[in-house]
Symmetry: C2
Amino acid sequence: MRAVDTGGYLKGRIRREDIISAAAGVYGEVGYHGASLREIAKRVGMSHAGLLYYFPTKEALLAAVLERRDAEDAEREQLASPPGLEVLRHYLALASHNVRHPGIVDLYTRLAAEAVAPDHPAHEYFKRHYDEARSGVRDSFRVLAESGELRPGIDPDQATVTFIALMDGLQVQWLTTPDAVDLVASLRFYLQSLLTVPLD
Amino acid sequence: MRAVDTGGYLKGRIRREDIISAAAGVYGEVGYHGASLREIAKRVGMSHAGLLYYFPTKEALLAAVLERRDAEDAEREQLASPPGLEVLRHYLALASHNVRHPGIVDLYTRLAAEAVAPDHPAHEYFKRHYDEARSGVRDSFRVLAESGELRPGIDPDQATVTFIALMDGLQVQWLTTPDAVDLVASLRFYLQSLLTVPLD
DNA sequence: CCTACCGATCGGTAGG
DNA sequence: CCTACCGATCGGTAGG
């Protein structure tokens, strides 16, 4: 009966994952502050007090959502390329994945905007997120600059900040006016305008 | 006693302006949904019920904030240039003004992110805002394309969407990690990379 | 404009 | 995991 006896722990882990997924959905719709534990709990079929059995506070649940996002990022990082063109293509692929999963875009956009407030519980998370994103992209643009694949006169550091800003800004504009924005095409257009070689 | 008798109306108008300013500040800090009428009222020195004497609902106050923003935009539009380089320089000047007034950036960033939700009371406002911004910038890029001031191969429509997205994304990134982002320099860098002539 | 109040909702706790 | 409850806060109304 071993297989059955471990069921308690397994069920708990599954339950936690369900709660995290539901929370991510609600955060995307109404932000973190706008999300109530009662709404999240309802979506997973329990009372809000039951949810607090798994996550002791509202902030602990947010931390779990962000941790899972990091874990998923790290998983993708496993198959990450060395700095260069491939990294930029990887961002294009990510954007194209996101367009098919608007919930992810909603979650990220809503939380990033809320978290500009220094006392927001996700503020440090997004600071770190931006630092890491910049350093990864910067390495790639520098490699491209040295190999002559970056257009002459283009500063790799400026290319980095603007590229990341472009992704963020396109997401807001796309969510607001989806018919007027082709997220992937715009990103491709920008990258191509910086390069001397074809992206694909 | 005529001059004194009109005082009642004048004081009311000033009071309304004070409330709108306080509301804009709170929206920038905690968003529209996170803002309470009591906090806004406290900043202008009255009770929240008193505030509701001037603005009958929470949404009416938001509408007034957005209306004043439009009025300020229209005022600036008065001295607007015909489509072309001057319009882009005008956006640079606006960005440089915003950097010295972070509250404006906060307000815009917070509301824009909240308003991606179709049922947000500012959703239609931001849809219109994006439509108008795109059509103004697009005209300028098209003029520049015809005069050869836009780099060959650059699609004016793509330049438009990405330019506006860049402004939005830079604002979020700048608010989160101010030391790592030079908002005006990044904007200038991008515009210059699209042009065949020096911006300044 | 204020005080006083309403019903609704919030995160969290007690006690099983 | 639940029911039942707590104190706090919300937008809005009544009645001056």
